[in-house]
């Protein structure tokens, strides 16, 4: 049987990003978001709020690849979880300060993304998804077997340490503002990438790869770059999460996590700026409040997946964006 695996790279038509400056609407949303997030730890349990932010950044990083690069990776848990192991190890065994531990984890994710991305972009579409998934599974087995990850137990009681060696992060509120700075900064950076000339080339590749090639762009190099960037920011999210929970565990490298981040992006809206943040927040909140239902959470996630794909492909923010007739 013939495999028709040409023309499978584009996944969804995202609203056109605007190049010149940040639109007023986006500025307003970012400022409101920042104000809301600054007030959040005084309203809800700070650990929960930090978990939401880490996953929002993870989903935003994933969306850079899927929504703007048109590449569906099904193995992003490798970078998220891999970075969390490295950051936890750096903080616990090497005794590094929190910001250096997070940087170590992020750098490890970037490197991993370079290796896996370099191999994976040789296949397209569905194959690409399967290859990334299989590589992520390799990382999973690696994490299960090498001594430093602690196998089934993971790396536990990771010290939070002192930021820049000065400010203690043992206090949940000070840690919260560290996490806020990291994740919000990360999200702004991702926004900047999407709206840069690089982001425009990505868009061109996603919409019509042969034309981009004929214009002289080295398409594979752009794809690899966006893959590495996405892996790096996923790693930033994972490394930060390991500092928040003082734990790195197999859950974060398991392929269910790769599926969850797809779900967050799909639910919020692929190819939108704010969609992944909404999707990430919703899924984490749902898991938090439905935790007592056990395996039903999986069933509910599956149902959301199915409904999302069948009826609701634009996602929440995608729909709002269509109503407002403005890209969000």
């Amino acid at each position: 049987m013939a495999a028709q695996d040409t023309n499978t790279d584009t996944i969804i038509a995202a609203p056109a990003p605007q190049v010149a400056g940040m639109p007023m609407l986006h500025k307003v949303i970012f400022v409101l978001l920042l104000i809301f997030l600054a007030a959040l730890p005084f309203m809800v349990y700070p650990i929960f709020a930090m978990k939401v932010m880490c996953f929002a950044l993870f989903a935003a990083a994933f969306n850079l690849l899927l929504g703007f690069g048109g590449l569906l990776s099904f193995g992003h848990a490798a970078y998220f979880g891999g970075a969390s192991y490295v950051a936890a190890h750096a903080a616990k065994v090497w005794g590094l300060t929190p910001e250096l531990s997070v940087l170590c984890g992020t750098a490890a994710a970037a490197l991993l993304g370079l290796v896996i991305g370099g191999l994976s972009i040789r296949r397209q579409g569905i194959y690409f998804a399967m290859v990334t998934l299989a590589f992520a599974q390799m990382v999973y087995f690696f994490a299960l077997q090498v001594p430093f990850t602690g196998g089934e137990d993971g790396i536990q009681s990771v010290p939070r340490g002192n930021l820049f060696g000065l400010i203690s992060l043992e206090n949940n509120i000070s840690l919260y503002f560290f996490v806020l700075a990291v994740t919000f900064g990360g999200i702004l950076f991702l926004y900047r990438i999407v709206h840069s000339p690089f982001g425009q080339v990505l868009k061109a590749i996603r919409e019509n790869e042969p034309r981009a090639i004929s214009l002289g762009y080295n398409v594979n190099r752009y794809k690899l770059m966006v893959f590495v960037l996405s892996a790096t920011f996923s790693g930033l999210a994972g490394a930060t999460k390991s500092q928040v929970f003082q734990l790195a565990s197999l859950t974060d490298v398991h392929w269910m996590m790769s599926g969850e981040v797809v779900l967050m992006t799909l639910l919020g809206g692929m190819g939108t700026i704010f969609g992944p943040l909404v999707g990430g927040a919703l899924i984490v909140t749902m898991q938090n409040y439905l935790a007592t239902f056990g395996a039903w959470v999986t069933v509910i996630q599956g149902v959301i997946f199915v409904i999302g794909v069948l009826l609701f492909r634009e996602g929440i923010v995608g729909v709002i964006s269509r109503w407002l007739k403005r890209p969000l």
Partner: protein
Amino acid sequence: MFELLGIPPQVLLGQLLLGLINGSFYAVLSLGLAVIFGLLNIINFAHGALYMAGAFVAWMLLHYLGIGYWPALILAPLIVGVFGIILERTMLSRLYHLDHLYGLLLTFGLALIIQGLFRNYYGVSGLPYRIPDLLSGGHNLGFMFLPNYRAWVVVASVLVCFGTWFTIEKTRLGAYLRAATENPALVSAFGINVPLLVMLTYGFGVALAGFAGVLAAPIYSVNPNMGADLIIVVFAVVVIGGMGSILGAIVTGYMLGIIEGLTRVFYPEGSAVVIFVIMAIVLLIKPEGLFGRAA
């Protein structure tokens, strides 16, 4: 007794047999994926869950209705296949005009639902399923003890794989199928009911997964997670073999099962990742897979 590279032959042959059995499951499952992918262009992420469902249906037939292994070997794939056809008619058929990746996402959601439901009702601890009387016991081959059931698994999977390959590559029905893959519009212009063909193909591919599940039930205990990790290995097998080829799926399935078994003898720590390592190497050298056509 002589030794081979410092390994007693019993161990070596035992692991080879185990590898061959795992390879039988890889082959039947990746064959089902290849058949579905060929005509629907969908990577059936629910394949592992449907394999698990096949094992559970066999178990349920025995425990609730007293229907034994042999009827279950026919009935369970049929039930799973019909369930697959319902999924195809109600959900997958709505996605054909969209990007193929949506099929992957939808079937991923379905896998979560199926696995979650079984986990809710049966927990995660495995349920035992007895080897049928006819196949209990084994033969002493002189150098090793061969359990009859395991030999049967290998024979059954080879028969099913050969039958499927023969049907697709050598019969008129297979010719229609292959033509429909190349150009569905033209084939339907010749008066062939392509949607029906697609529906039955999905049903058949899914039934293959159910069949593998029944075969697996007496060997591995029946549990809701049995398909979840297997499916990713099968994806790797599919990437290595090259999705374009039915033969590739079958040959690579058996081959990688055996390689995995050998790795377990010589370097046990590597046995879980050896398939993924091979995948990385194949991607480097021949990105379209061993039996695949260049894209």
